[in-house]
Amino acid sequence: MVVTDAWGGHGGVVHGGVGLPAVELAGSWNDAMIKFGNTAGAIAGFLAVLLLVFFAAGRATGRFARPLAVLIFLGPALLLVLVGLVVPLVRTIVLSFHNDDSTRFVGAANYNWAFGNDSIHQVLLTTLLWLLIVPVAATGLGLALALLVDRMRGQAIYKSLIFMPMAISLVGASIIWKFVYDWRDTSQSQIGLLSQLAIWLGWRHPPNWILSQPLNTFLLMVVMVWVQTGFAMVVLSAAIKAIPDEITEAARLDGAKGLRLFWYVTVPMIRTTLVVVLTTVLLITLKAFDIVRTMTGGNFGTQVLANEMYSQSFTQFNVGRGSALAVLLFMAVLPLVAYNIVQLRKERATR
């Protein structure tokens, strides 16, 4: 039966002990085959069910044809969104007004705890800094690069290389930068690139970067900016190329040059794209979780809201507090949601 298969559980065993590499390899090879078999089975099962439904429903005619089509096309997506997002969202709000094992209604106690707690204050402040600084820095840098690269030869290569970090995981990016910053541990005698540069520049004893508050938080932000600048650059570069030549020419004939041209012609022409880029960068910045977790584990004053929420909910099992923190994070992006919806309504009205 396909459906039981589709749960993707597998009977592989974890290999303990030290075997010969060849034996280990064979073991992991078998394991891999079982896992891939299950995965392929799940996909095949899913597509088979879909084809069956299509085949059966496609024969329906008359009064029921349209409602049936709506149900089949939209049903699965709606069910997923309902079970996975809408219901949990409401439930998280409800849980945030209950105690930590969700047995008693406690009113705003969890929120009082969050707002009355110094370490949470620090976390909220750090989170706001992330959400303010990273989007502005990445978009600004991306815009500068997009403008400068606009008429260069071989620009595809520069864009590609600066865009590349977007493809790798934030965990990987964090490890790359751990090496630049040299998160020193005592067993290492070698130092990272940043300290080495500092020494070459004549700074005799560079600090231990990871322990330097509040500098360390900004060093973590650099990783996020490094990841996202290329995205801003590529998208804004396309927007600049889309500006009709006549407009720039006309402005030039009127004597606009350099910064004035940029401010009065380029910026208005790419305003929509700028907003989209800022919004997208802001949303990706919410994934700061990965960077903070990998680089500092939230220690040394670098903790952000997403990590605090995770640790409250899944390490300390304080469900009430964790939910309250999740709601606060939601509040931080709520203005963005509202703005987006207003924009979309405008767009649809003009269509």
Binding site: H10, V14, L74, V81, L85, V171, I175, A242, D290
Partner: protein
């Protein structure tokens, strides 16, 4: 020939920035190729004067593990693939169906539905994690009736697939809707006049014509899932049975054992697949990004 900002100075700035953006990654690659002792003693920039390079770290991290782990990274690599492929296929298929229905099937409330889905795009995952984890581990019961059976977490891929599919739905539906709704109206109407059912239209017109959009989204979603840490951490646990490479790497990164040469090799291993995908399919990826944001 008009030149807006181009000058030797501007070009120099771009070249310097590109170098700055590339050096950290090259440093990681160089470190991962150096023997343990070298890594502990000197910085990676000495490879130019003292080139001792080899793949031994990769062998160690893949098959021997280091860090007191047997079996190495190999099972995690398999898990990453086994998680990412279905978690790309499921939302792609379901969201393209939903996008078609919202764009071309007339029914009451379709506008409202579209707005709800659109608004849900920006909800932080954290808002849904706790209830979803509870649902997956306990199931959902109405009295004595089990409506949704418990899936368990940490011993199968199902919860991770499901979570990724659920969270991808709003964005995928929205992006694909942008494409599907721009298909020529007369083509669609002609198909209806010819008596084609919605299923027929979807299969023979929509899917083939939207292939580029589907490809863009597939690349985006694959990279997203492959690189994800939060959902994997929450729904896959940390065992070699289910956990993907990102989870393993985050674990290793936290354990300072002076095994930096292995950590770098592990980190680079997790990047190989996304980098290949990125450089091979960059054009589609960028096209997908631009379709959502630049009005041409």
């Amino acid at each position: 020939m008009r030149r807006s900002f181009s000058s030797p100075l501007a070009s120099l700035f771009v070249v310097v920035m590109t170098a700055l953006w590339t050096i950290p990654t090259l440093g990681l690659l160089a470190t991962s190729l150096r023997p343990k002792q070298d890594v502990a003693d000197t910085g990676w920039w000495t490879v130019f004067t003292n080139p001792h390079l080899g793949l031994s770290n990769y062998h160690a991290v893949l098959f021997e593990g280091g860090f007191g782990v047997s079996g190495g990274m190999m099972p995690y690599l398999v898990n990453s693939l086994a998680i990412s492929i279905p978690a790309t296929v499921f939302p792609l298929v379901l969201a393209s169906m939903a996008a078609y229905a919202l764009a071309w099937v007339r029914f009451r409330g379709s506008d409202t539905l579209f707005f709800v889905i659109f608004a849900l795009q920006v909800v932080p995952l954290q808002m849904a994690l706790i209830p979803l984890l509870q649902l997956f581990s306990h199931g959902f019961h109405l009295g004595a009736v089990t409506v949704i059976p418990p899936l368990g977490t940490g011993n199968s891929y199902a919860p991770v697939w499901l979570a990724h599919t659920m969270f991808a739905m709003p964005l995928a539906t929205f992006l694909l809707h942008n494409f599907v709704s721009q298909l020529p109206q007369d083509l669609m109407e002609a198909a209806v006049v010819d008596g084609a059912s919605h299923f027929r239209i979807f299969r023979s017109i929509v899917l083939p014509l939207c292939a580029p959009a589907l490809a863009s989204f597939a690349i985006f979603q694959f990279l997203w899932v492959w690189n994800d840490l939060l959902l994997a951490l929450t729904f896959a646990g940390g065992t070699p049975d289910v956990a993907p490479m990102t989870v393993r790497l985050a674990q290793l990164s936290g354990s300072f054992g002076g095994h930096w040469e292995l950590l770098t090799a592990g980190a680079f291993l997790t990047m190989i697949v996304p980098l290949i995908v990125f450089f091979a399919l960059q054009r589609y990826f960028v096209r997908g990004l631009l379709a959502g944001s630049v009005k041409g």
